[in-house]
């Protein structure tokens, strides 16, 4: 029985670890969208974060620099998006799609020389407790610092949006940029900051994949996680804690269905592969049914171009 419980703990720990990049990218994108900006470039920013983190690690042998560098590269890419949509007033959707395509292509080009290079072991925290505490050990201990950061992030994001002045301003800009500008709020500055923050979090999410989760570079290694993160934000109706729930369900079912496939359960593989997507959407739709709450949480100006009358 003891063995079973420990196995369960290890399984839950693995599920949580697999949901980290989704939590990071979705939390970042959530802030961006709350300010009224729809950045569909999440996938592109994640993959750029993944390759620049890995490349920096190989070149400098310094994991700290690699992590910072991945965030900066995500931020840089989102700056391009911000400049185009906010200063040159291009369409959010088209620009975001272009960003993703650009990011995937650029990462493949940079990554050519890094294929097949083994990654470096990332330092894990509280490793001693992992073995010592039954069941809870593998869930809560022996993870990287990025893991803990990711699981605190939705709570921090929720607090930021609900309780802080700056969070209020972000929501106000997302609700009505025109009213915000008339109130003397610098809408461009707020939106730029939210875009850059979103970019940095996507970069970090990508770096988690290439430095910690599967420490190596594989072309297109984000494998659509950016799109899942985007969908999570919408289906979680822009609520950070629901994003967390959605990310864990998605990670959980992804891993469970792999185990089910391995056990040879007689269900079509295609169905099992589709299961995480279906279940995540079903659960999020069910927990986000309150139409009044949806109305209050949805950034009214999402995706709209804003410019100031002069």
């Amino acid at each position: 029985m003891n063995i079973d419980i420990n196995f369960l703990g290890i399984l839950i720990g693995a599920i949580m670890a697999s949901s980290v990049p989704l939590i990071l990218a979705a939390s970042g994108e959530l802030i961006t969208e709350r300010s009224g900006v729809l950045n569909l470039g999440v996938e592109g920013m994640m993959i750029i974060g993944a390759i620049s983190g890995f490349a920096l690690m190989v070149m400098t042998d310094n994991l700290f620099l690699a992590i910072i560098g991945s965030m900066l590269s995500g931020l840089l890419l989102s700056f391009i998006f911000g400049f185009l949509t906010q200063s040159l007033l291009t369409n959010h959707v088209a620009t975001g799609l272009a960003l993703t395509i650009f990011g995937i292509g650029l990462s493949a080009m940079i990554g050519k020389d890094f294929v097949g290079i083994p990654g470096k072991e990332f330092p894990l925290l509280f490793v001693n407790f992992k073995e010592a505490v039954p069941f809870f050990g593998p869930i809560f201990f022996g993870h990287s610092i990025v893991f803990y950061f990711a699981f605190l992030l939705p709570f921090g994001t929720s607090y930021f949006l609900k309780k802080t002045k700056i969070g209020l301003i972000v929501r106000a800009v997302g609700d009505s940029p025109l009213s915000a500008a008339n109130q003397g709020i610098n809408v461009l500055l707020v939106r730029y900051c939210c875009i850059l923050y979103g970019g940095a979090m996507c970069g970090l999410g990508g770096a988690y994949l290439s430095l910690i989760y599967t420490p190596q570079w594989i072309e297109n290694m984000t494998a659509g996680r950016g799109w899942i993160a985007l969908a999570l934000v919408v289906f979680a109706t822009w609520s950070p804690l629901k994003v967390l729930v959605g990310a864990i369900i998605f990670g959980g079912i992804t891993i469970l269905q792999l185990h089910m496939q391995a056990m040879g359960i007689r269900v079509p593989v295609q169905f099992l592969s589709a299961l995480p997507y279906i279940m995540t959407i079903v659960v999020l739709v069910i927990i986000s049914r309150d139409s009044r709450k949806i109305k209050l949480n949805t950034p009214t100006s999402l995706g709209q171009i804003f410019y100031k009358e002069k």
Binding site: L168, R171, A172, S176, S179, N182, N297
Partner: protein, 499 residues
Amino acid sequence: MNTKLKVSKVSKIYPGCIANDNVSLNFKSGKIYALLGENGAGKSTLVKILSGVINPDQGQIFLNDKLLKLNSPKDAKNNNIGMVFQHFNLFETLSVFENLSIDSEKNNDQLRILVNNILKKYNFKIDLDVPILSLSAGQKQKVEIIRCLIRNPKVLIMDEPTSVLTEQETEDLFLSLKKFSKEGILIIYITHKLKEVLSLCDEVAVMRKGKVVSISRTIDEELSSLANKMIGESLNKIKKMTSNNFSEEQILTVSKLNFNSEDPYEVNLVDINFTLNKGECLGIAGISGNGQNELFQILSGETLSNNGSIKFRGKEISKLNPKERREYLMAFSPEDRISQAAVPSLKIYENVALNNFKTSNFFEKGLFNERKIKDHSKKILSNFSVNTDNVNLKSQFLSGGNLQKLILGRELITSPELLICFNPTWGLDVGAINYIHQTLVKINEQGKSIILISTDNDELLQLSDRISVINNGKLSKIMSADEVNPEKLGLLMGGGLVD
């Protein structure tokens, strides 16, 4: 504390239109100034310049002889210029308190005390913790006013503040404004309502086509002299013949209608009963937010009632949707022109096509018959004197008055048996109001029926044959228009008189 505000030779030119042409004005605290003019006269442009939203092309503004550089609304705020815009600058999804706290340096506890004091002092009743989108238009306006007051303004600019208020609320507002004026705040009151100028203001500047055409003391003016200055031509006053000779044929019968909303911020309707005769105009008065919205939505079929019946010429229609009701030749003109009645980003002819009556054949095998719709739209534009003949113009470029004419025209051109309209002249200028009133009188004369839900009592008394008052979701007894006067309406609206 004396405040002097000087506007010196301000001009603002937009492509194809001189919004402000060399405008010079002087204001001193202790008086209430009216800035009077029709829509499009340049009042709003001047106000936007004073509040830092747009920059003038030429000219200066001085506050207490100091030159002001107003590059952003923040500059105006920092110079203690407070501004209540005609179109609300509120964040719909944030709570009232969040809206107030967003530009305040005070911490939340201090601010709450301050706001509660203001609420008490001016007798405003607003729940601070509900989202703005659940407030009525009148309440939203109060939030805007409170937002100015918490910053201790030296100058308070009110841009057409009463367009959404009832008579009682307007009186309260005027008392408050007079109080502010006594407290030393310089008040500039922008309006196109002549009566308000005379009853509230000390001095009046009249603007027409971007120019200041007259500056005078209000005691030297009367309604007709101001109207002539504002419009530059004489208006003929509408008076509907209260003949009561409409036929006894019942067009609409509503009985035992109830509506319980799941949304706690909507008003429940309780036991609504009325009948409407052919050729009659039934007015429904009331303070905004007393169930008018819900009643309009149920009559138009946007929402369905829980129980009760609505019969159109004896046929039960309470379960039909708006499209099906239109097939019975009912027509609807909702309160919010921009978001409910028309899609601003669509072209005029596209907006016309949006409500296709069965008779109009705009679509053939699912395809858009563009030429037919455009011809139809041109007919509406000319029949209802909309000031453009370009059906490809985006609707957002029409002024409020012209947009309303287009909407009414779209509804009326198919000659419906029943028109239900909700605040059809909300925020329009005298000329447009006059035109719409004439149109409504005309359709009554053609034997068509009207339900007029309005918060403008003058309008109701002018146009209705019978009037009922809605208060907290209940309709009062239906009275003949002859037996009501503004005082009685006011009492019923405030719930002060139970019939």
